[in-house]
């Protein structure tokens, strides 16, 4: 009987087996969704799709799409955190005498610099890297990415030549720079990097099934380069491009999941689907398409906050490419500033076109700070997470922010998805990192990595930074 009891508890408690315990059908899926077990939620629905009654189908479809959107937001946050850490790690490596001879360091440093918009240095480093004794394919990478940097610097003419490269990487870079998807099927690709990049491209070209076929079994956690000339010293390097590709794939999946509903659906689901579809397309840079759906969304009966967000996104699409003028923004700001979601969107935009427009930025600042204080009841974890990330991005004091975020964290299970929203956890991890509390940050990532693939590069780099920066004397104490 002992055994039975123990077994029973095992089922009830270990998240892995959570599915066994949840209710069937939509309800169960929603439960899983609430616990942020997105993959399981989708699996749950797909596995018993036939059994789901007609009336529940739209909701179910929406749930699937929505879960992808959440996932995409999660990976976006992770990517930003990751580029920051990645660059810092490479700088630490560079600083250590022992690594003088490692040719990979400047290359990858360059790649990460692009991710944090330090394109000038990136361009210089990658130029040098292209000359350095690297294997040819990585020389090519250096050239390509340098071109990307140049493009970002507005020196398209110099970039043009290099960007003509026909490798998947080349095509992916073109997808990023100009949004064009060229999925001409070359020879079957083996490398996981190529698979990922091609997958993203195929998706953009609307060939989802092929994309998924290609993506099946791709492992996001492997390093791209492993330098182990000395078996007692293994260096691992990870190309940030893969993170970008993966984030895009998540958005694409959201698009695929939501489109039928946004087009064919009706009622509340239609509106919601249209909004999130628009949002996804916006993040994929498919602006034209995005606009149509967002219009549709803001037309339909959306909740005020999503409506505000939709309007804001539409406006953003409108002034795409040029910085908007203060008079343009003022009214928009006034009638969207009430909605947290919208404010957070503003914060996103702040890093783009809106960045220079005063007095707007100064208005956003204080609003963002008291965003949660204003909200009446306990705000959802995802919101807190986004808020934390936004503030972190504008360089607020990490110590204070950490305290603020901890307010909303469930300490008794501080790193568990079931109790704390993934976005909140990423925000906490990133803030702890900024606050030099590496163990805390690593612990959080350790838990997240149990559910989400693709965290390993970040963990590896963070460990490296911690190793390099720790200054302890070395002691171990035993206790009961």
């Amino acid at each position: 009987m002992k055994k039975r009891h123990l077994g029973f508890v095992l089922l009830a408690l270990s998240p892995g087996a959570a599915q066994a315990a949840v209710k069937p059908g939509l309800e169960g899926a929603q439960e899983l969704f609430r616990q942020s077990h997105w993959e399981e939620a989708r699996g749950h629905l797909r596995s018993q799709w036939g059994a789901i009654p007609e009336k529940d189908r739209p909701a179910a479809t929406f749930l699937i799409g929505r879960s992808y959107v959440r996932e995409a937001e999660f990976y976006r946050a992770l990517r930003r955190f990751g580029s920051e850490v990645g660059l810092a790690y490479l700088e630490e490596l560079e600083a250590a005498k022992a690594n003088r001879s490692v040719v990979w360091i400047p290359l990858f440093k360059g790649l990460y610099q692009i991710e944090v918009d330090r394109n000038v240095e990136a361009e210089r480093l990658l130029l040098a890297a292209a000359q350095s004794p690297l294997p040819p394919e990585w020389k090519a990478t250096a050239r390509l990415r340098r071109a990307l940097a140049l493009q970002r610097l507005g020196r398209a003419s110099e970039a043009a030549a290099a960007l003509q490269d026909q490798s998947p990487e080349g095509r992916f870079c073109r997808l990023l720079s100009s949004g064009m998807a060229e999925p001409q099927s070359g020879p079957p690709r083996e490398g996981r990097k190529d698979k990922l990049l091609l997958g993203a491209i195929l998706y953009r070209a609307g060939r989802a099934t092929e994309a998924e076929a290609l993506l099946s079994g791709v492992n996001l956690d492997l390093p791209d380069v492993e330098e182990n000339a000395d078996p007692k010293k293994v260096l691992r390097f990870h190309d940030p491009l893969l993170g970008i590709a993966w984030e895009r794939i998540c958005w694409e999946r959201a698009v695929v999941g939501l489109k039928p509903l946004a087009v064919g659906g009706a009622g509340i689901e239609k509106g919601l689907a249209a909004y999130y579809l628009g949002l996804s397309l916006f993040n994929l840079g498919a602006l034209g398409e995005a606009a149509t759906f967002l219009k549709e969304a803001s037309g339909s009966s959306l909740s005020p906050e999503l409506d505000a967000a939709a309007r804001l996104l539409l406006a953003a699409l409108a002034w795409n490419g040029r910085s908007p003028t203060a008079p343009e923004l003022a009214p928009l700001w006034e009638n969207t500033r009430a909605e947290p979601e919208a404010v957070l969107l503003w914060a996103e935009l702040k890093h783009g076109d809106v960045s220079k427009v005063e007095p707007f930025v100064s208005k956003l600042e204080p609003r963002l700070r008291d965003l949660l204080a204003a909200s009446p009841e306990r705000p959802p974890g995802s919101l807190v997470g986004k808020w934390g990330l936004a503030r972190l991005r504008q360089g607020d004091d990490p110590a204070a922010l950490l305290a603020a975020l901890s307010e909303h964290r469930d300490k008794s299970n501080k790193n568990k998805l079931e109790w704390n929203d993934p976005l909140l956890l990423v925000a906490l991890a990133a803030t702890s990192y900024r606050d030099h509390e590496y163990p805390q940050s690593l612990e959080t990532l350790f838990e997240l990595a149990k559910t989400f693939p693709g965290l390993r590069p970040l963990q590896w780099n963070l460990q490296g930074i911690y190793a390099a920066r720790q200054r302890a004397g070395g002691e171990a104490r035993i206790s009961q």
Binding site: M1, K2, H5, L6, F8, V9, A12
Partner: protein, 292 residues
């Protein structure tokens, strides 16, 4: 319900008049009842006649309140409280008897020595007794446990030893009073050998009550000491159940309002101790009745 509790060493006409027989019977019944229950439970636990396996854990139902499955609920790893309370009797029954007999045997002996031949023995015995009294009981046990191991027999043996003075002192005082009594003096004067005087008059007629009381008290005390020790962490150790360590474990949930866990064994202790006391009284009543 007061008069029944008392034990008159010399029941007198005057007292018999004022006595309330009904209450006495109630007390007797309760006392003997409790005692029999304890003994029965003890035997049952020895013969493994138990509702559950005392060590069977049910992590699904931890600190559960009473239910059909667990009549008294479960403990902090989901073991059946009722079963463990039953088995818990083993933790004090024999050890308790050991402790009591030790303290009584030596106590009586020393008490008599000091009582009858104060000149010869009082100093020596007194010293010995005070030596035992002066050593802080719990510290003594802590050191003994550290020296050997946390074994209930060991612990209660120490308790028994430290209780010797109490028994001895009572007897000594009693004898001191009796010696002033005409008939004892007479008996000794008549040249009856002291041994007979001791056995017949003192121990049998007057001392047995005290011894009995000491015995019942000793039982109760054995349990309570073990409980205090468990609070300090040095009582009977898991997985062996004792009422003491059950109360001590329950305490960790006390302030959360989960009183049940520690209250059940505490109640068991209360009833048993009470039972023993009343039993003692009751027996004494009979003795006095017959003895007078």
């Amino acid at each position: 319900m007061s008069r029944f509790l008392e034990l008159a060493l010399e029941p007198s006409a005057w007292q018999r008049v004022r006595s309330w027989p009904l209450h006495r019977t109630v007390a007797t019944v309760f006392g003997t009842g409790m005692a029999t229950v304890v003994v029965a439970v003890y035997l049952a636990s020895v013969l493994k006649i138990l509702p559950h396996d005392p060590d069977a854990m049910d992590l699904g139902a931890v600190n559960a309140l009473p239910s059909a499955a667990h009549l008294l609920g479960t403990d902090f790893v989901g073991r059946d409280l009722l079963t463990r309370i039953m088995v818990g009797t083993q933790a004090f029954f024999l050890p308790g008897l050991l402790s009591v007999s030790v303290s009584l045997l030596f106590g009586t002996f020393l008490g008599i020595l000091a009582g009858f031949w104060p000149v010869r023995f009082d100093t020596l015995v007194g010293l010995l007794l005070q030596l035992l009294e002066s050593l802080p009981k719990l510290v003594l046990i802590l050191l003994v446990v550290a020296l050997f191991r946390a074994d209930i027999y060991l612990i209660l043996l120490v308790v028994g030893i430290t209780n010797i003075p109490a028994a001895a002192e009572l007897l000594r005082a009693r004898i001191a009073v009796l010696r002033r009594k005409s008939y004892i003096e007479a008996a000794i004067a008549l040249g009856l050998p002291p041994s007979r005087v001791i056995l017949k008059h003192v121990l049998w007629l007057h001392g047995r009550g005290l011894v009995l009381i000491q015995a019942t008290i000793g039982m109760g005390e054995a349990i309570l000491i073990e409980t205090s020790l468990s609070y300090l962490g040095f009582g009977v150790q898991e997985p062996t159940p004792s009422w003491g360590n059950m109360v001590a474990l329950g305490k960790d949930y006390f302030f959360r309002g989960e009183l049940w866990l520690s209250t059940v064994p505490a109640a068991a202790i209360l009833l048993t101790v009470l039972g023993f006391h009343l039993l003692g009284d009751a027996l004494l009543e009979r003795l006095e009745a017959s003895g007078a």
